[in-house]
């Protein structure tokens, strides 16, 4: 309403001035955004219909849906798709539940304690994927790793397990590391959301004799729903994009047992120079994420 009033009240010269100024302020940002985000996104879609490699002297050949048809017949891609979904299906619920629990425990502590715990749970993110990965690689090592030592000392295993070299365990190890690097942001978000819950509602419910559990589920849960939805989407996107851990720990091995879509895109585009094929996978990944985000968004809206 106020906007309409404002617009009708503006003189033509003022409108022109607003438009020019608006675009001039936008311009620097827009140049970078269009050149380095929108353009590559469009190119990703276009080249996915071409047989294209990174060579300088070769021409791209239009092959229609050729790349997509080949994709669905590619057993490695299907394996990568399966692994990606396993990672998402395990890590998303665990991250959500764990971070909500931690946040609920720490948000009403003394401020310095809340800060301290928040920093600690965020540490693996800030440490950086390379540093985190190399230390875990050492901890998982067959001979010198502490995992095998501890499990042997406790008598759980009798001979060392080759964690990252065994298709049975490798994906599990990656998920474990991914979990430690994924809970930081959700905890920060939940702590802030829980801190913003309307205290008068909580007090009113307590006066009415509601216990902690009831207060949590009936009052707080409803109020932090938008945050939950946001965390769900970002955690899902992050899990779908799991790359650095794979590249540094296992390179998709052993026997492609830890390939994810993102790693397989990197592998086909850069190691096999099959650029168009890699981009077709990128498009599939975009579609999957867009559809899942859309569904979650719709569900979240109908809930509230």
């Amino acid at each position: 309403m106020p906007m309409n009033k404002n617009r009708s009240g503006m003189s033509r010269a003022l409108v022109r001035r607003e438009t020019t100024a608006g675009y001039l302020f936008l311009l620097p940002s827009l140049v970078f955004f269009l050149t380095f985000v929108v353009y590559p996104m469009v190119m990703c879609i276009i080249t996915s219909f071409f047989d294209s490699n990174m060579g300088k002297n070769t021409q791209d050949v239009f092959i229609g849906f050729g790349n997509y048809i080949e994709l669905f017949q590619d057993p490695i891609f299907r394996g990568a798709l399966k692994n990606t979904f396993v990672i998402v299906l395990v890590s998303v619920p665990v991250v959500m539940i764990f971070s909500l629990w931690v946040a609920n425990c720490i948000y009403d502590m003394k401020p310095w304690l809340t800060s301290l715990f928040r920093v600690v749970f965020y540490l693996p993110v800030v440490t950086g994927s390379v540093a985190v990965t190399v230390v875990w690689k050492w901890m998982f090592n067959n001979y010198y790793g502490i995992f095998n030592y501890i499990l042997k000392a406790l008598g759980i295993i009798s001979k060392p397990i080759n964690w990252l070299g065994d298709p049975k365990y490798a994906l599990g190890c990656i998920i474990l590391i991914l979990l430690t690097t994924s809970v930081g942001q959700p905890i920060v978000l939940y702590v802030s959301a829980l801190g913003n819950v309307d205290q008068s509602l909580v007090e009113a419910a307590e006066v009415d004799g509601a216990n902690h559990r009831q207060v949590f589920w009936k009052i707080k849960w409803a109020q932090i729903m938008p945050t939950t939805l946001y965390i769900l989407i970002i955690t899902m996107i992050n899990s779908f994009q799991c790359f650095a851990l794979i590249q540094l720990l296992t390179s998709g091995g052993p026997l492609h047992s830890t390939d994810t879509i993102m790693y397989y895109i990197y592998y086909t585009a850069l190691k096999m120079s099959r650029y168009g094929y890699g981009n077709a996978m990128g498009v599939i990944l975009m579609i999957i994420i867009a559809v899942l985000s859309g569904i979650q968004f719709k569900l979240g809206q109908s809930d509230s």
Binding site: R7, L26, S29, F32, T35, F36, Y39, P40, V134, Y275
Partner: protein, 307 residues
Amino acid sequence: MLGQKSKASKAIEFIVILIIALLFTFPLYWIVTGAFKTAKEVNSTTPVWWPYEWTMANWEKLMGKLKAPLFEISIPFSQYWSEDGAPIAAVTGATVPAAIRWMINTVFMAVAAMLLTCLTSALAGYSLAKKRFVGRNLIFTLIVCAMALPKQVILIPLIREMSSLKFYNTMAAVIFPIVGWPFGVFLIKQFAESIPGEILEAARIDGAGELKTFNTVVFPMIKPGVGALAIFTFISSWNDYFMQLIMLSSTKNLTISLGIAKMQAENATDYGLIMAGAAFASVPIIVVFIIFQKYFTKGITMGAVKG
């Protein structure tokens, strides 16, 4: 009765959280102590929880292995006419350990990305929040859609674009896509919404030009948002491993994360050396994070809490 029970369960909860928190800090502890362990301690089958004798051997190896010039200032745009497509260096610094050069590259990259992102986002966020013009909603929709898509998917097409622009294997190839990512614009827009229109109106009536209004009225009001964005961009670009991996190739151009990954690939089992590298790469950014963590958490939460 209820209060008492919750007190006891609270204490148990606290202890459990404390234990988990300690586990979360363990990898970092293992990096830092590992960096000072002797080769024998590192390769011991019984873990050495605390180094018996602190050694600098790993650090000497880290600094001695690879060498690179301290800095190179190249002739602007020289990549467009040089024979091999690489920029021509006008001034080259003294030869130093490559790890030092990697650190300089990383700091340069993160600071440049931070400054450019803050500048462009502050201007654009203000414009989208407070200016009324045709196409505004379209641009904003485009930004929101782009943010919902996986960022890493565009990196593969970016490689080809960067090579044709002759940015490949330069810091520009890493910095520009970070600046282009519209999260900052979105964040500042949320923040700038709260600037009262009357103040802007008053500035205009006083005869202040657009730039002057931005400098004296708008910027002071969005400063906390810009601060949060700055620290957020600094840390996330420092750790943006995938982008650095595909854009940078020659030893002297690596970032510290890439350099450590490279060392790890070449000396897979020399854990002492690798831990020294990991400590060198991560401790500075952790210190930055701890100092600015208040602004940082603000940056994260502001992006999420949508009006």
